[in-house]
Amino acid sequence: MDKYEKLLDMVMDFDETVRFAAVTDENGEILWNSQRTGLKNIVPVSETKQTILRALHAWRDNAGVKKNIGSGLYSIASYEKIKRITVPLDNGRLLFCSVDNEPLKTAINRRKSYGHLANMGKILSIVDFIKSQK
């Protein structure tokens, strides 16, 4: 199994709110992807590809501020129903995840909810683990 397939398996196993995960090359072509069984896509694949291209463009631009604020770790675009996460990998590759963001129905507090917290520490530690594999 390629290490990026392993990355997708680990990300999908770690968190049931991850609906879809993909690894792309530097041109935005999806190399591997994993879709949660039983869930329908909210977003057509063609739209996801547009999002990935926009993210790749932004990460290329962001390379210009590395000397000022360090390497890019991740980006999250949050909508009411889903979060779209990108994490730059090595060789220009990108991890893309679509995560459920519906507010919890069992929330005790009465304040307005803006959705789930994405556990980025855990996702980044999985990415670091995979990067360390040959």
Partner: protein
């Protein structure tokens, strides 16, 4: 005091890790800004302006995507770097809020730290609060 200045003041008061808060129009031109007096900007203002231009275009695309698909309203976008998080969110149809937030990991953490959590719920509730008075 206008409501946009009020948003900037409330955000700077709420969280000391916010270094710079900017309100731009949908073309990414800076209209109002507030910089924490005790800190130096890590990123040259020219780079921030460039990021704002790109983010404003990306927000147009995100809003169009939300119109086409059942994503719900777009809430915010975070790009996390080792030392800084950049947060953008639309505060109304014509204005974008940009925040540069300190992301330096806390010194006392035992595990590898990927930086600090940005309390987006609080930030969004401040924006919602100010918007209710307009």
């Amino acid at each position: 005091m206008g409501r946009y200045e009020k948003v900037l003041n409330m955000l700077m008061d709420y969280d000391e890790s916010i270094r710079l808060a900017v309100i731009s129009n949908t073309s990414g031109d800076i209209l109002w800004n507030s910089k924490r007096s005790s800190t130096q900007l890590q990123v040259p203002i020219a780079e921030t302006k460039k990021a704002l231009k790109r983010e404003s275009q990306d927000w147009v695309d995100r809003c169009k995507a939300a119109d086409r698909m059942a994503l719900g309203a777009p809430l915010y976008h975070i790009t996390s770097f080792e030392k800084t998080k950049r947060v953008t969110l639309p505060i109304d149809a014509f204005h974008l809020l940009f925040l540069s937030v300190d992301n330096t990991p806390m010194k006392n953490t035992k595990k590898k730290s990927y930086g600090k959590l940005v309390e987006m719920g609080k930030i969004l509730s401040i924006v919602d609060f100010v918007n209710t008075f307009e």
